[in-house]
Subunit: 152 residues, 2 copies
DNA sequence: CCCATCCTTCAGAAATTCCTGAAAACTCGT
DNA sequence: ACGAGTTTTCAGGAATTTCTGAAGGATGGG
């Protein structure tokens, strides 16, 4: 079997495990191994053997998440799609929202705590996510620093 | 409405967004606001108005994830459950596996890359997750350091 | 040894999600 | 303004998931 195709399927499975639809992962896999100019919806449909309806929603989803961008191509009818620079940093940053959610939840819980309950577990939760929210941005900063260095 | 109950439901929704079944989140919410000795399955069934079958699987799930522990109680028929210390660090650590998965995927993609394709996107992906995997443990170390300080 | 109590497993119902084919809507060059 | 090519929307079908009720199994006190 084609190693490239194998990669596409694996990307589908991995990204599915992360909570996105399978086609979205396969599209991403296909775009990651596409020509530098990206790929059209038709090419993707061909390679993935998927319906264009599914591709349409998957591409919109990926675009709204900031992972993929649409590149209109003068002289060509079909738009091209490609992986956005910094896509993964963007994705990770959205994971940050989950941390915020959990932190908010912990605070909410502390507020709603009934008499005689042990605040210990909730306090630990609140402190843990507070720490994480504090350190999270520094990782991304480090990443951007690395990016600049690589350019210079 | 009871603020405590509200918190339980909210926990259900938030944890559902994170990919666990809703009851699991509600159980966690209930345990976070329970007496220090934890709660029995019967008490949880009462509070959550959920079937004991669902609780059984949810509790097993949570236990295997390391978020909850089972505390047999001498002199009492029913086992008690409570949130484990360091539960959230444990959960986060499992998120680490996802990063590893994505890093592996990137490496796999680079290996399978066809001729003439642009390795740029995959290389960026590989480097990004490599950085993240490197920095991730230091956050947890910082956490454990904080824990020790709080004790001393 | 027996019985009450608790826990788990099983099959099935309900809801949600994902993808497809067909039809409608839009775009661009002429 | 027209028509080919492209994209989106929509309804339906398939598969997966989550929860419940009921039956079966384990465990500890008397």
């Amino acid at each position: 079997m084609n190693g490239e195709q194998q990669f596409v399927e694996r990307a589908g499975l991995v990204l599915e495990m992360l909570g996105m639809p399978r086609v979205a992962g396969r599209v991403l896999g296909a775009l990651l191994t596409a020509s530098p100019r990206g790929a059209t919806a038709a090419e993707l449909a061909e390679r993935l053997q998927a319906s264009r309806a599914g591709l349409s929603t998957a591409l919109r989803h990926l675009t709204m998440m900031g992972l993929v961008e649409r590149v209109p191509n003068p002289g060509e009818r079909a738009d091209r799609y490609r992986v956005r620079p910094n896509a993964w940093a963007t994705l990770t940053e959205q994971g940050n929202r989950k941390l915020q959610l959990l932190h908010d939840l912990a605070q909410d819980g502390l507020r709603a705590l009934p008499e005689g309950a042990d605040p210990g577990a909730l306090r630990e939760m609140e402190q843990f996510y507070a720490l994480w929210l504090r350190l999270f941005p520094s990782v991304l900063e480090e990443w951007h620093r690395m990016q600049k260095e690589a350019l210079g």
